[in-house]
Amino acid sequence: MVIVEAALSLSAPQSRGSSTHRLLWELAVLVAAAVSIAAAAQAPPAPPQAPAAPQPRFVVVLDAAHGGDDDPGGHLDTQAEKAYTLALSVKLRSLLNARGIQVVTTRESDANVDTNRRAEIANHANAQACLSLHASQTGSGVHLFASSLPPAPPTRFPAWRTGQSAFITRSLAMAGILNSALQHAGIAVTLGRTAMPAVDSMTCPAIAIEIAPDRATDHAAGSAAKASLDDPVYQARVAEAIAAAMLEWKTEVRQP
């Protein structure tokens, strides 16, 4: 079409000449137009403007540990570990939803969910982050545990108990972001790796987060209180830091 328009534009001044000349020019223009149309027909069609690829959905799985008659931790300060983790899961879900992050939870009530079922829920969610929530009176601050499985290349059909192997590198990267966010919030962090059946079977970047009393804060304040697990301010700090870390992890995941 560009060639035809150029020819027509060239033909305009010629139209002021003799009729033979004009006829020859019109003939040349027609030939040029026919040639350009034929060439256009043989050339591959120009690729259509590709629509913007939809952003992959970012899903976080929150696994509130224990539940039902599975409560090996007994009681923390005033409540059982299963109740503490469920409350933390609910709080985190609200914070993440408010940041536009989709959340899948393994339990919403005081129910006993099998270890394999927890991993199934996480794996079916195709999540970009899986957080197993725990609480303990031992230690101080927040303990972050990645699986102790050795890294392995991803396979089409990973073994159930070692499915986390292909995600170890990303799990450790996510642990680093969680570590930074928690430390930024003034919370002591301990990093480690361990074998946990639920985490080892998850095919997503997975971290077990264990909340312990903030004894460092107690010492700094000169408080005689042994633990602050039930301190709502401490709980909110931990939850906010985790939510901030997930937001940062979302940005990191979407970077090419």
């Binding site: 599975d70 303990s136 919370i187 301990t190 946990m196």
Partner: protein, 219 residues
Amino acid sequence: MIARHQTILFGVLLAASVAMGAVLWQLRERAHQRLLQGEDSAPTQAPEVAPAEQATLIVANDADSSLLSQVQTLPLPKDQGARARLVLGKLLDLYAAPDAAHPVPGGASSIAQVFLLPAPNRDAGPATSPSPAKPSEASGPQLAVVNLTGSFASSHPSGIEAEILTIQSIVATLHANLPRVTQVRFLVDGQPRPTLAGHADLTRTYLATDAVPTEGAHP
């Protein structure tokens, strides 16, 4: 009036009773003498006093999630299994102390047994012979099977960090005192158990080279 034959019968029975009593007394005395002759009150073997040696205990500390080496002088027997049980018992005694840095009730009695086996080749599958008969096995790596008591597992503080510190300190202590022990498995009351106290996996084989917790920077 008692009949004559009854009097004679009574006399015969009385005599028989006295005779039987005398025979029984004599037999008893003979048996007693025989027992005294067979019993040697002197010790047949002098009690073996194990020489005191230095043992390295890898002690967990909850305050900073660390494992610290601590050397103690203990009378260690020559038998490797007994030595392993004694060293682990001392480690758990430290944890059962009132001012322990990693408090775990139970103490030395929490270690029921420690079995030492040739370590299975992790590439070629488990070893077929449990007895170290071959020279290569006698000096090769070993798998320690630590049988814990159920009361220890049920009373252990629950938590990922608390449980993994206990496991790693046991594994590291075994390896420090018996360098051939490179792998450790755990049983509770002789049976496999999914977790120690709800978190740490007890069904897997722990390697002596397993990473220990890394202490994060504190604000």
